[in-house]
């Protein structure tokens, strides 16, 4: 069983949703990023999603764009991203999902990239601009090396595509609850329970829901309907707001993660 599957199983056995936290790898610099990730891992995070900084993050809102820019300007490279994962693996077995863009994988040779990711301790790839139709090479490499392949379902995804996506996905399915790019929203989408139920007709995989979730109440609300709740921009903002004193990033994130992850603790009766 993959670490990712085990994490969702454990949450389910505790009658709660899994708490999935996102940060951009290397934001704002390598050392601060290691500390930031460790702060999350020590405060109720079941799955860590690491954004791999890309020069052209066209599916991301401004918060994550600026995070990627800070990381790249801070000297983040493909090799350093793997180094970051190895560093986290010294102290944690929490599953790590790379949230990335396909050129960063493709340009390295898909199989070589997947092999290196596995060796570093990465558990899954979520490639934002790679639909299942184009993902044959990536899926084959991930199966060969034991990585999960996470795919996205959107509100615009029709029934006919759900089967295609379910067939390509392992680990979990990521439902983006809104049309649009990543970022904090005032309210979570209204129809999440129905959407999760629709997806579950096509798969036995856990369904995690993200995009726009930023408060404990929203985490609890979404966690009541989904197997996992993803929070990204609200955490990235903790970095953005503490750039002047980077030593504050980890403690602020620790508190934020503890607060938000408490939202999943009481999701199911």
């Amino acid at each position: 069983m993959s670490r990712l599957t085990a994490a969702f199983d454990r949450a389910r056995s505790e009658n709660r949703a899994a708490f999935v936290a996102y940060l951009c790898a290397g934001d704002p610099d390598f050392e601060s990023s290691v500390a930031a990730c460790r702060a999350l891992l020590a405060n109720g995070v079941d799955v860590l999603e690491l954004g791999v900084p890309f020069s052209d993050p066209l599916a991301d809102g401004l918060t994550n764009q600026l995070a990627a820019q800070r990381a790249l300007e801070g000297g983040m490279t493909a090799a350093r991203v793997f180094e970051l994962v190895r560093k986290l693996r010294e102290t944690s077995q929490v599953p790590v999902v790379f949230y990335t863009y396909y050129n960063l994988v493709f340009s390295q040779g898909v199989e070589a990239y997947v092999r290196e990711a596995r060796a570093a301790g990465v558990d899954a790839l979520l490639t934002l601009d790679l639909p299942p139709e184009e993902a044959g090479e990536l899926i084959a490499a991930c199966r060969q090396h034991g990585l999960d392949t996470v795919f996205i379902v959107a509100p615009t995804t029709p029934e006919s595509r759900l089967q295609v996506i379910a067939a390509a996905a392992t680990g979990f399915i990521y439902y983006v609850s809104r049309e649009g790019v990543t970022g904090v929203r005032d309210q979570v989408a209204q129809d999440i329970p129905a959407a999760v139920a629709r997806i579950k007709r096509h798969t036995s995989l856990p369904v995690a829901v993200g995009f726009g979730i930023s408060t404990r109440a929203q985490v609890a609300e979404v966690g009541a309907a989904a197997d996992g709740v993803v929070v990204g921009s609200a955490l990235v903002n903790c970095i953005r707001d503490n750039l002047r004193d980077r030593s504050r990033i980890a403690p602020v994130l620790a508190a934020k993660a503890a607060e938000l992850s408490a939202g999943v603790k009481r999701t199911r009766a």
């Binding site: 890309f54 820019q69 340009s107 184009e134």
Partner: protein
């Protein structure tokens, strides 16, 4: 160059990319899931429209009465004399309404959006020519129009920004990254992801996810269709060479497509050589790039070892882009289209030369093709015939060129 000795297999000019939008190993659909359904619907709507006489006839009418087609094929007598070799003809897309070939595609896609019931249009623009064409088409058809443009491009093409706003478009400056065309496309795609149900994205070049490269190509095929008739009427034979500038590659594929099966016609796409082929100083993807995936398709990209997209530079905003249309990469592999580049300095010189000798001020983009056209003409005998696609006019560039010349 060497590829002509290898005769490529015949091409079926009505051939399409495969159902997934691939031209060989290029193209495809690489977008966030949210857009997959919109692209499929667009492909289906286009497939119906392209066979519908009502759509074809209406488009033809607008191209004639609004855009000013057909455009002339003009014998550039004094440029020909200057080069002292092959005859140089200019396909005068610069004479079209709004100043460039871009209006062919903008009108067609706006008409298609209307058919699809989409009332809001978004577009990206580099030099501003596609933005102006889209703004004009939207004004004509009563569609809401938002154009994304890099902040740096807004500065160097201020006149086009004002034009778009005059025609009722909202121009949104993009401050990210290098503040040029690539960032404008990122931002347009973010808008589309957010507003996909009611919005159509009029992509301005033969680039991006399927069906865009095929569809945009088809909407510009009229350039080559006219040129072929015109040169046959004028010279009684096919040209020896066709030359066009290539940013994404829409004017080039528009001119070339009709001649693909005419293997005696050599075709050359001209990329932006900028300050020369050094990292970050140019936009010649075939000279300094390698295979990658960006903004919807697989093609040649300027990228670093990690796969990060590299900075580009060109004197012309319209060619200042890190990737090239996938169909160009496909025909280059088959040896059917050759590629060259022109540097900023060559372009500045030829911009003035063409203005002085022909009384035609060419767009900086199109001037790249002229640079290569003059080189080729010099190397060929006087009985040879070259057609250069003068894809746009240079009115938008005069302020920039004036400033550059003042510095020299």
């Amino acid at each position: 160059m060497s590829a002509n000795s290898n005769v490529p297999p015949p091409l079926d000019r009505f051939s399409q990319p495969d159902p997934g939008g691939h031209f060989g190993s290029y193209g495809g659909v690489f977008v966030p899931e949210t857009l997959m359904t919109a692209l499929k619907e667009l492909g289906e709507a286009y497939d119906v429209a392209r066979k519908d006489p009502a759509f074809i006839n209406e488009l033809r009418l607008h191209l004639k009465e609004f855009a000013g087609r057909p455009t002339q094929l003009y014998f550039a007598e004094r440029l020909t004399q200057h080069a002292g070799g092959a005859k140089i003809y200019l396909k005068r897309e610069d004479l079209l309404h709004t100043g460039a070939h871009k209006i062919n595609n903008a009108l067609a896609q706006a008409l298609l959006a209307k058919r699809m019931g989409k009332k809001r249009i978004i577009a990206e623009t580099g030099a501003g020519q596609h933005g102006v064409a889209t703004a004009a088409a939207c004004a004509k058809f009563g569609l809401e129009c938002v154009v994304y443009m890099g902040a740096h491009d807004m500065e160097r093409q201020a006149l086009n920004v004002f034009r778009m706003r005059l025609m009722g478009a909202e121009v949104r400056g993009v401050e990210a990254g290098q503040k040029t065309l690539k960032e404008a496309i990122n931002e347009a795609m973010r808008d589309w992801v957010t507003n996909v149900r009611a919005t159509h994205y009029i992509l301005g070049t033969a680039y991006g996810a399927h069906p865009y490269p095929m569809m945009v190509r088809d909407f510009h095929r009229v350039i080559g269709q006219e040129a072929k008739e015109q040169i046959l009427a004028r010279e009684g034979r096919l040209p020896d060479e066709l030359i066009a500038c290539v940013g994404g590659g829409s004017n080039a594929i528009g001119l070339f497509f009709e001649f693909l099966e005419d293997l005696g016609v050599k075709m050359t796409g001209v990329e932006a050589g900028g300050h020369g082929i050094k990292r970050g100083e140019h936009a010649a993807r075939f000279a300094g790039g390698r295979l990658g995936v960006l903004q919807g398709c697989k093609t040649f990209l300027l990228q670093d070892a990690d796969g990060q997209i590299e900075l580009t530079h060109s004197v012309s905003a319209g060619l200042d882009y890190a990737a090239v249309g996938p169909e160009h990469a496909f025909y280059r592999d088959r040896g059917r289209i050759q590629f060259a580049y022109a540097t900023d300095d060559e372009v500045l010189e030829t911009f003035q030369l063409c203005s002085r000798l022909e009384g035609i001020i060419p767009a900086l983009e199109s001037t790249h093709a002229l640079v290569e056209g003059l080189k080729r003409a010099k190397s060929l005998s006087k009985d040879k015939v070259i057609i250069v696609n003068l894809s746009g006019r240079g009115d938008k560039d005069v302020q920039q060129v004036q400033a550059m010349l003042a510095k020299k």
